[in-house]
Amino acid sequence: MPVLHQPRDLDEACTLLAELDDPMVYGGGTAIQILLKQGLLFAENLVDLSFVPGLTAIEATATGIRVGAMTPLRRMETDAQVAGVVPLAAATYGHVANPRVRNTASVGGNIAHGDYRLDPPTALLALDAQVELRSAHGQRRVPVRDFFVDFQLTAVEHGELITAIEIPAQPAGSASSYVKLSSLGENDWPSASAAALLVTEAGRRTLRLGIGALAPIPQFVSVDVSGHDLETTVEAAKAAADPLIDPIPDVRGSVTYKRRLGLVAVEDAVRRAWKDQDDD
């Protein structure tokens, strides 16, 4: 069994991560406990962030919001500020697992988990969020669009922890939607998912798509849809998404099935975002 450490501030946490053998950050622990039960966790030391102050705040910034890494996922779904500033993020976080897991799992642990099927990264990609990292050597920021490096591999380096995620506000007049399609049960991991954000800025219309569960890492693509109507936007979205889809076959579907479902998710997300914009 790994040894549990409970640092009382960020500096102590960073020192522990720098000095311990095989350390692992313990966020909400929902993924770590399952790996422990499955005998698949090989860390020797767990560094629990739950007693580190200052990691659970949701604050307004000049450009959007900053969310502390230990903020429970459920607050992203229920917090009025999140729903107002980044409605796409609020909707997407609300689709993770079930309310109990969302009450316990953390925003930092979710993205650090690095699973290709996670719901929240799709929205964070479309919204162009930044991940704030800290280690004994200092602080740095990584765009979410560079954060997922390879299958189960993220930009978090040895000795680093995530302190916050910064999400730029959804532009005025934008419209968005998240679609999650699960094949095993209503509340299961997705077989395919898509977050669509339609933005109109300086006369240009852009569709930003985050795609989940359809390739070894979550994918992002941006399409210029200026002058398009709904049907040509849908076609442009599917054409842009298709080359990014590289499914991993498993109990939730074959390659062929997930490829088809992926394009359905993209189409549904675009149509719902379009409707969202008409309703405003």
Binding site: P2, G29, I34, D48, N98, P99, N103, E186, N187
Partner: protein, 153 residues
């Protein structure tokens, strides 16, 4: 081992726990709350649900030592005339009963946040709980009935 201070159903308990012990095991074996049950063990069924400071948690994934000083509610600690429990009984919302403590606590959390949920909101809050006996229609009716009674913890 260290001492953990837990308030469970209004009673204070000081219990010795190991760093890696799960809240599920501590509540069952050291506090005696056997309504907290293990099903899947991985957060997916809700049999082990408890309310920690009012919020639902899968105790099968929760480290006990992170809950020092917490206020915990388990289904066996609910008052005899709890409106949610009465609604479940009157609606016949159980067969073997294994899953029901979890459903009852999820219902309390839902009604505390949203006293008059519609069918879709009920399903969205309870969809992470599994009933192997398939009592879902009766459970949904019981939640609606509990809301009509103005259930409050």
């Amino acid at each position: 081992m260290r001492m953990l201070n837990l308030t469970v159903n209004g009673r204070v308990h000081d219990v010795p726990v190991d760093d890696n012990e799960l809240l599920l095991d501590v509540l069952r074996t050291k506090v005696g709350c056997t309504s907290v049950r293990e099903g899947c063990g991985v957060g997916a069924c809700g049999a082990c649900t408890v309310l920690v400071d009012g919020r639902s948690v899968s105790s099968c994934l929760a480290l006990a030592v992170r809950h020092d000083g917490a206020e915990i509610v388990t289904a066996d600690g609910l008052p005899g005339d709890d409106a949610v429990v009465e609604a479940f009984v009157e609606c016949g919302a159980m067969q073997c009963g294994y899953c029901i403590p979890g459903f009852v606590l999820m219902t309390h959390e839902l009604l505390a946040e949203n006293p008059q949920p519609d069918a879709e909101q009920i399903a969205a809050h309870l969809e992470g709980n599994i009933c192997r006996c398939g009592t879902y229609p009766e459970i949904c009716a019981a939640v609606t009935s509990a809301a009509a009674r103005g259930a409050r913890l």
